[in-house]
Amino acid sequence: MNIKAQIAMVMNLDKCIGCHTCSITCKNVWTNREGAEYMYFNNVETKPGIGYPKNWENQEKWKGGWKLDDGELSLRTGSKLDRIMKLFYHPEQPELDDYYEPWTYDYETLINSRRKNHQPVARPRSLITQKRMEIKWGPNWEDDLASGESARNDYNLQKISDEITLEFQDIFMKYLPRNCNHCLNPACVAACPSGAIYKRDEDGVVLVNQDGCRGWRHCIPSCPYKKIYYNWKTNKAEKCTFCYPRLENGLPTVCTDTCVGRIRYLGVILYDLDAVKNCASTQDEKLIYSNVLNVIKDPTDPAVIESAKLNGISEAWLRSAEISPVYKIIKNWKLALPLHPEYRTLPMVWYIPPLSPIAKNVEEKVYLPDSKEMRIPIAYLAELFSAGNVSVIYQTLQRLLDMRTVMRRKEIGESMPQNLEFEIETYEKMYRLLGIAKYSERIKLPAGLQGVEHEKLRELQGSTGYACPGGFC
């Protein structure tokens, strides 16, 4: 056993209202610079939809993530030699139009216009060419199924197209907030020819060293979630940093802090580094999810604690791991699932799948439906969160439904249902954490990684970040 600590995130999709506050606050902190206008380290997609960038889930096109070659794990973009051949032109690299062309408006015409019979209009102008442009697509073009047809092109729907029609009476949608998953087996790290991307030993955050990046761009297609971006101004790769300067001081990421629906949970998990490769190499992709649960270790197990201490994990971190809300949700209660586990990167941002309104045809008959009777097709959720393993989705939704049933019966004084998976008290705890938990219960982070004195921090001002301290940019 070789225990490492990881900051993990859980998002409760039942509570996401698709307000984009996470995206906007993240953008204001991290990507409101020239060269980064088009980037959203965090974005919220409406599913079904092709997403941002367009069709990011289609790995036939982008070759993101890992595949198994005779049981051996290898990058889908090819061997090291294959990828060196792609240095001068990378056939799988997304280009600007796969995201969208960023724009502003000629606001000055509103102020400077001479007197006319009609209102002056602020026309769009490209932030790349500075020329007038026609807006054809944006970062959130499909919000609430707005684009109509593109929802049908959702790659997950295509894989299960026979069963889902998207006729008006059957239409469904949900929101999917996405940031970097800070994977246990990150494909971007493995793909970087320069060795500039690394996983932090202390907290598992995956970062791009802005000095070491040479702009070979291999991380971008390799990340199956398309969560590494190419800055066209600095010509280097950038990605979600999990707001590591905040984490180091015990503060949550900006997206977590500002989430209006309070859907995000942040905490420490302990995992066995020696088990990661085996888990990612699981033959049957439908079993990857259950195998990841075995890689995540019990923070109260003495053997785990001993190995953690040997690896220099501090008491504060071990305490945080013991009271970690994300550990409870992921491992004790098995309520959260990884997004597209079949990419074999072992993502560490987890999702509680959403319950949804009852399907039209059973609406009249029941108050709390069975997990099969909900509007979002189980097969669709299974494509997103369990590599097509529908029984995992059934079980997860059933736990959420059981929790609701227990709390309802408790409220109206009915007898409790039989054959429950957990004790009644567990469902009450579950309800508290998922439903009404305060900030301090949803977020349990150890401070102290920063280790730099306040005076020193002042000296460091302006010397780090994405700017160009030495010139030559």
Binding site: I84, H90, Q93, E95, L96, K131, G195, K199, R217, C468
Partner: protein
């Protein structure tokens, strides 16, 4: 004049090349990148990018053979003048075609596409001018080899080696045709611009990638 161009300028340019590169690496690694523009315009790079770079590798290899290896060495292994020229042209013409046409396609792409302007600095424009001069005079020089009246391996090559041996012998350069002289000025200008331009990315060819493990862990 010859002393200035062929004895002083080589050392000035090589000093700037080496010293400037070290300075740039130490001070400005944040800006050290391929400056790739594939993100802005992908389709027109598909052919041009690999063509230019493969042509460049071939041309570089040709220069190593033609300039650094003395004539008596190739002759002692049985390659006579005629055979040498045959080999030089058999390798040089395809290299030149790839290199020149790759370069032309890249220039059409760079200056014909409005998005590319955000990837083109003033330094880039100067660099492309110097590169064009160097590449075209180099190709013209190779093609003039058909006539066989001028042998750079008895003039330019020994001169360049004398530079490397730190005892520059300008007399080798006395009767060199103009096209080769411009080519010489071209590479020296390129060397001067090298540390301060996008060219530095050629030093970052990721050989070390083959030797490293997939996942990298680093402590803060």
């Amino acid at each position: 004049m010859n002393e200035l161009l062929y004895a002083a300028l080589p050392y000035i340019s090589l000093t700037i090349l080496i010293g400037g590169t070290i300075l740039r690496y130490a001070q400005g690694e944040r800006g050290w990148t391929t400056k790739s523009s594939e993100f802005l315009s992908k389709n027109d790079l598909k052919l041009a990018g690999p063509m230019f770079h493969v042509g460049l590798f071939m041309a570089f290899g040709g220069h190593v053979i033609g300039v650094l290896i003395p004539k008596f060495v190739t002759e002692s292994v049985g390659i006579d003048e005629h055979l040498y020229h045959f080999i030089a042209l058999a390798g040089g013409i395809p290299a030149g075609v790839l290199f020149v046409f790759g370069f032309i396609l890249l220039m059409i792409r760079r200056f014909g596409n409005s998005r590319m302007s955000v990837n083109t600095s003033g330094m880039d424009k100067l660099l492309y001018l110097i590169l064009a001069l160097t590449i075209f005079t180099g190709c013209a020089g190779t093609l003039s080899g058909f006539g066989g009246h001028f042998d750079y391996r008895e003039t330019i090559s020994p001169w360049f080696r004398s530079i490397l041996m730190l005892s520059p012998d300008v007399s080798y350069m006395e009767n060199v045709p103009l096209v080769f002289r411009i080519h010489m000025i071209g590479w020296m200008m390129t060397a001067i611009l090298f540390p301060f331009s996008r060219l530095v990315h050629c030093l970052s060819f990721p050989f070390e990638y083959f030797g490293r493990s997939h996942i990298i862990y680093r402590r803060k």
